[in-house]
Symmetry: D2
Subunit: 289 residues, 4 copies
Amino acid sequence: MREGGNVDDAARLLISCDDRTGIVAAVTGFLTARGANIITLDQYSTDPTGGRFFMRVSFVGGGDPAELEAVFASSVGERFEMWWRLRRAGEVQRVALMVSREDHCLFDLLWRWRRGELPMDVACVVSNHDVFRADVEAFGLPFHVIPVEKGKKPEAEAALVDLIGGRVDLVVLARYMQILSGDLIDKLAVPIINIHHSFLPAFAGAQPYQRARERGVKLIGATAHYVTEVLDDGPIIEQDVLRVDHRSTADELQRVGRDVERVALARAVRAHLHDHVLVDGTRTIVFPG
Amino acid sequence: MREGGNVDDAARLLISCDDRTGIVAAVTGFLTARGANIITLDQYSTDPTGGRFFMRVSFVGGGDPAELEAVFASSVGERFEMWWRLRRAGEVQRVALMVSREDHCLFDLLWRWRRGELPMDVACVVSNHDVFRADVEAFGLPFHVIPVEKGKKPEAEAALVDLIGGRVDLVVLARYMQILSGDLIDKLAVPIINIHHSFLPAFAGAQPYQRARERGVKLIGATAHYVTEVLDDGPIIEQDVLRVDHRSTADELQRVGRDVERVALARAVRAHLHDHVLVDGTRTIVFPG
Amino acid sequence: MREGGNVDDAARLLISCDDRTGIVAAVTGFLTARGANIITLDQYSTDPTGGRFFMRVSFVGGGDPAELEAVFASSVGERFEMWWRLRRAGEVQRVALMVSREDHCLFDLLWRWRRGELPMDVACVVSNHDVFRADVEAFGLPFHVIPVEKGKKPEAEAALVDLIGGRVDLVVLARYMQILSGDLIDKLAVPIINIHHSFLPAFAGAQPYQRARERGVKLIGATAHYVTEVLDDGPIIEQDVLRVDHRSTADELQRVGRDVERVALARAVRAHLHDHVLVDGTRTIVFPG
Amino acid sequence: MREGGNVDDAARLLISCDDRTGIVAAVTGFLTARGANIITLDQYSTDPTGGRFFMRVSFVGGGDPAELEAVFASSVGERFEMWWRLRRAGEVQRVALMVSREDHCLFDLLWRWRRGELPMDVACVVSNHDVFRADVEAFGLPFHVIPVEKGKKPEAEAALVDLIGGRVDLVVLARYMQILSGDLIDKLAVPIINIHHSFLPAFAGAQPYQRARERGVKLIGATAHYVTEVLDDGPIIEQDVLRVDHRSTADELQRVGRDVERVALARAVRAHLHDHVLVDGTRTIVFPG
């Protein structure tokens, strides 16, 4: 069996620690001794000598989750000074989706969610504009507007923290066009996934599609990444490109950009929800699946 | 560290057996107890309940390889009724390349080999035509011609067995256009990788590029697979496609076909040489990397 | 300017005829003499000696469209024994969308249409099941159910002809799982675009995803084509593939299949609506753009 | 018929001029009146009102080429103030290939040339290192070494101008790692095609693969472009990408980079040799085919 779709009844253990001999044996020995049956196991070491070790194990069985966690912590976790997290079987992540005025990423995610492709509970959709209320509510979801008025960004961010702080496990910026302050990122204290266009070469600044056209690029790309304080510079989760040519107007490049953005974002969110993504400083480990 | 390139000083253990609880723990526990340091570990189960289990572990250390093999066999291998194979550190596979009259796959492999991208010893190049002798010998490699005359295929196959039987670990059919008999496949008794064109839909029979053109296909593909007695029907290792359009003549479709064939074959050979491929009946498990 | 998006104020002339000297000069000379300004011109000949010639010209100006048509017919069209069609500036095609129980293609088209990516008037959505009524009506579109009961297919097809016959310019089968009879295809007398999964190699018959998994395919594809009486065998408009691996269950292959189907269908419909597609017997000419 | 491969017996007329009404009709009318049979015609306008117009026509017949050129110049060329160039039937471009110490692009081009995929005469291979002499000479080609010693770049560039100046129609930098001065570019006075790696985002400066790995990019790209005085910033002809993941070492990213570089460069050179590329300021028009 492999995990996937919306049915996913295996617990998952995520681990990272300094690499040294015996980690895999210790973890799998522990699970086997507790009667757990390992379903999948992925591991990666940046360098077996002095590097960082990353691991994801999914398993069924193993007895009471709380007790399993307690024993794992005291026996294996402490010994290897691990960061670790256990996602229990059936535990579904709560997600807040944020959007501004472009719908392509938001509704792609919502349709996938309704179709059972994304194992998440959508807590709500939040926007700085009241544009998509009817469409979102047709999915049976709450839609909240938190306008971001000039000079009143702190107030808007405070309202957002009031609304979703502590209530979600993940925030997805599905073309939400406001920059999040470091303070907001700290207070939300959950992973935040963003999507933005990417080109070869990159075009920083305004009107990137117009500039991409002037430069005659042949590929339009998108990058999904975790949000950090530095704009568009967090660890990359997924990237993709589509082909264009000289005939494309800036408008058409944008249409192609929408197609590649929604695909890259959906893959990144899906990988995150399945606990396939671990962060290693400025980059990610994305286990396949 | 990850394996790759032509430097690869980790031993690799490949395993398949019926799936049941405790395999990973047993294997990793064994290796750790022998002082081995696990570098990478990939595993896959077709079904944790009654399915088949596949695993690849690369490691450094572990003491004398012969002793390690012996103890592994008696302690772990027998217990789980495993098929298994240990490739020792530094052990390089000997490969025979076979070709007819098209050079694109052969020389792509040879250039990659010379550049250090394919960790293999090229034992020789064998052809049913004397076309590429000078080019092959320029690589410092022996070139053998075994013509396949009408009605004398058994003699040709016998000559091939005489030449390479027992002397190579892998045969690559780099556009070798003769069908291998089941008898030859049995006698060579090593994996044989073949490459052939693929389309959506498939076009069996003669002149496939002409027929692909008449049907107006938009993609030209290639499939690299292990050879079985059934023509072009063995376990698939790698597939890829390239885009074409209505302007392409049959000749040009063939040019594009060459490009996709050489890429798919090189990836398949590379995956095989790194022991990333395990066969599961009619299909393959290709561990990433 | 190039055509694209939902604003498209250039007329388009599509032509096919036996190839001979002087066609391009005659057509462009005619348009220039009538004061038209050619915006784009694409042409293709299967063989300049005895082949078939295809052309698409978009232009602005040229005076009264009805008069232009009449003069073109008598002066150029007859001389070269052309099949030709003029789509006037601003003329938008009326489209019927048909669906069964899978929504991924239907709603991808509807969202693109609402976003202005597909220049069409959606006349209605027709289904053999009453599953998507609320969702379709939320787009402000009529939703019709025509059940296809066992043994009563002729009656269902008659009802469909009553409903849309003569009222639409195009029918799109967005995962409509009934086979259309040759009689229905004749009576509708407009192009019909279908989408279906494709593999390398092809798997005819039932449970293709299960069989693709058993065979270990590495690519999942989709083909959008015009419907002819022979099932899934009409002229191909667009094809695409996505990569999968051994871990994918049949369910997941189907999820990937949905992604590639909706993309290939949307591209095919878009190319058709922009009059980029001409049929040449068993295949299509798809002019780029 | 469509042009392709190394047999290409149609003349080609390339045109650019300010866009206005009647250009296509004038050019095609001229050719038809001279008895030429148009094989393919591609055209593009940046903007029909005040934009720039680009056209490529291939044709057979038309009488004596020198006379055709003279009449075209005085009748059509002057009237529309065109830049234009006629490549006569059978006229093959002479090309100089330049390389430093990496062979993947050079030998990919040479093998394609030998296989008949690139319609060019290779005048010579020039390098700043004496590394590939034997391999190049095995193709029957002259190999010249022009070392570029510290502080003596002007002398090296002068030697290069002596060697190939006025003797070639195209220079291809197949991983030639010296920056060409503006003076050299002026003196060579022919198009120069370069290939370099590309990422999303871009990494300027040293050790790009190491930095790409640290940033965890998921795609490795390459850009083929015409050389201008600004490093790596000339009009883009072709781009492509390949997928990588966190396991890839910097060395492996480089191996993947080599694969994508050679493919992108070969496509760009092929498009140029078939006269499919026209330059529009900072970007290219690449007609399909």
